[in-house]
């Protein structure tokens, strides 16, 4: 950009030194209209400078510079609105992700909480079902260890025999040695 610019300035300077007044006058006149083109740089300004010597050229230039202005507006609006929509969509998406992730971590916490609760309950069950706890609970309920068992064995012909000698249970608490 700067290279092109310098070439142009060189040309301008050469002309201004030869006829400074003629060059300055048209430039002054046209400048308000060219102002929108300033951004695009002197590339566009230069042809105007050449044409300035003929005063009739002015209306043509006005039409030429005004036309892009009208065409550009919808495009700019489109770009800006696209940008805005994208930004809003991103915001919405990010919010949604954040909400989901908060939900997820909340549910994870609940999950952990419940898992711990299960663990605690299981622990109670495990402790309660150990033989010593069961024996204590059974004794508290008035149960006594079973002695020798008797078995009634049925023969194929329907007869039955008692094997082993069933022993009546002892009085609760009388025999700590149990069975």
């Amino acid at each position: 950009m700067s290279a092109t610019a310098r070439v142009q300035t060189g040309a301008l300077r050469a002309r201004s030194s030869a006829a400074p007044r003629t060059a300055a006058r048209p430039a002054t006149r046209t400048s308000p209209r060219t102002s929108p083109t300033r951004r695009t740089g002197p590339v566009h300004v230069r042809p105007q400078l050449r044409l300035v010597t003929a005063p009739v050229g002015t209306p043509t230039r006005t039409r030429r510079t005004a036309a892009p202005r009208r065409r550009r507006a919808p495009f700019v609006i489109l770009v800006v609105s696209l940008l805005a929509v994208t930004a809003l969509a991103l915001l919405a998406l990010n919010t949604a992700i954040a909400v989901d992730s908060l939900n997820a971590s909340e549910q994870r916490a609940t999950n952990t909480e419940l898992a711990q609760q299960v663990e605690r309950l299981e622990q109670q069950v495990t402790t309660a079902r150990t033989p010593s706890q069961l024996a204590a609970a059974a004794a508290a309920a008035g149960l006594v260890p079973a002695g020798a068992a008797g078995h009634v064995v049925l023969g194929p012909d329907g007869t039955s025999v008692v094997r082993g000698t069933p022993v009546p249970a002892t009085v609760p608490g009388a025999d700590p040695a149990g069975g």
Partner: protein
Amino acid sequence: MPTRSSDPSRRPARAGERRPGAGRDVLRPRGEPGARRARGLSPVVRSRRDRIGLVAMVALLVAVVVKLVVLQGIDGSAYAQAAENDRMRTFDISAIRGEIVDRDGNRLAYSVGASRVVADPTIVPDPERTALALTTLLHVPAGELTQELSGEGRYVVLAEQVDTATTDAITELGLDGISFEDDPVRLYPAGTVGGQIVGFVGRDGDGLAGIEQRYQDVLAGTDGVRRVEVGAGGRPIPSGIDDSTPAVDGGSVQLTIDEDLQYVVQQRMDVECAAGETTQGSAVVLDVQTGEVAAMATCPGYDPSLAGSTDPELLGNPAVSDVFEPGSVMKAVTLAAAIEDGHATPSTVLSVPGHIQAGDRVVTDAHDHAPIDWTVTGILAKSSNVGTIMLAREVGDARLEEYMRAFGLGSTTGIELPGESAGILQDSADWTESRAANIPIGQGVSVTALQMASVYQTIANGGVRIEPRLVSSVTAADGTVTQQARPEGTRVVSESTADQMAYMLEAVVGPGGTAPLGEVDGFRVAGKTGTAQRANPDCSCYAGGGYFTTFVGFAPADAPRYVIAVDLERPSSDAEGGQVAAPVFADLMQYALTSADVVPSGTTRPEFQLTGTAPTN
């Protein structure tokens, strides 16, 4: 850009831009003050100035670009890492140690998540108030907590292995500077029951005894790391970076132990130890068909959860690690050898004198007597030392040693417990004449209770010995179950010999035998008593050392289900195995058979011929 400042002809135009009406018809439009001054410079000076400006700008730009490259390209990763480290926090995740369960899946040892409560004293705003809030929850004196919380460091441990209910309550309080770390706690719900088998873990969670030690690799699991992005308060950002490695929990070990039977055995042994004269007692229950250990208990036992405060002397498993001289229970091995080698049958009659010369010593029967014509059954039933030595001499030392080793004496059984003893059995070549007379009757040879049970398992199982095993399966964290390989059975004696032994051992419990107290109501029982002199540790002699009384047997004799070996160390008593150990055996066998729903066969015990007429020779 340089065009604007360097072009004087453009100046008026620009000025005109700002004030459109003013400069239209003026030859020299007014410009800014700076522009007027610049117009006075010659083009050469201006061009030089442009160049200097350009070079300066480019130099600055290059400097910026270079710095950018250095920051982004060269040091980039380091800075990114530093930034990430600043945002990330690492929390350890402890793997939950695997369970140890009995054969029905009842937990003998398991771990639950718990926490270590730690504090950062620099953040704790009011140590005293915080201490007061925590003292009842943590069960630590408030003064101690205040001191900890007022300390200099940034990390103090307030309490360890705090359960989840308590940590939840602490979280509710919302105290600053208090946080939690994983610190799982190992629980042994059954306490003493099976404690010696299960073993215990040290403070760092590594197994130090029993199955906990032997299966450390399986049970331990692998710890994980939780690495998350945290916010200003040190709390994880929900949608932030989560770079975590989950912990792999440990596998479970299933034992062949029946917890209920184990409980009954432990209770019965505790009763025996509490009675006073028994200082130590062991009982081993084996499944005859599989060789699996159904129960194994010693009194005094220990509770693994209290291992840290237990006398270290007690933290073993004497049933596999302590050896004793078995005494007469060994006679079954001697007689099995004699029958297997064809030197005798149960009805062979020998004229047994009351004593026998063995080298420089004289071995007598329990009570010296005139020669009696005993059958071999009678020798076993009456537990005659002299008769057994006579038969052992028929077998020969080398052959007897072979049988003893085949029955598993003098070598470890390979059970899955640390510290197993092989017992002591000398080479027969080294046996002196007196030792050669002692070994057949169970003196001068040492065994563990487990080995003795294994000998009788061989006889009960038709002569096929299956090494005892304690672990049935291992379940990895992902649920894959690995059944432990069962040892191949090895035939030690023929089935016929085993049957004849079973027959003779039944006579021991029968009328005229040494152990009528070993009878179990309704069932036929085969077994053998043992009363071995105990070496007196004060004089390294047998005098005043008391006895090891043992009873090893199986039932039902006609279809054996369980083998139970009971040995009681009684330093201050001279009671015999038949009086002391046999009743313990009977109680345990009674429970074992009843709980296993074993129906008596209904057959009656044969009549035994204990005496006969010795052939005159």
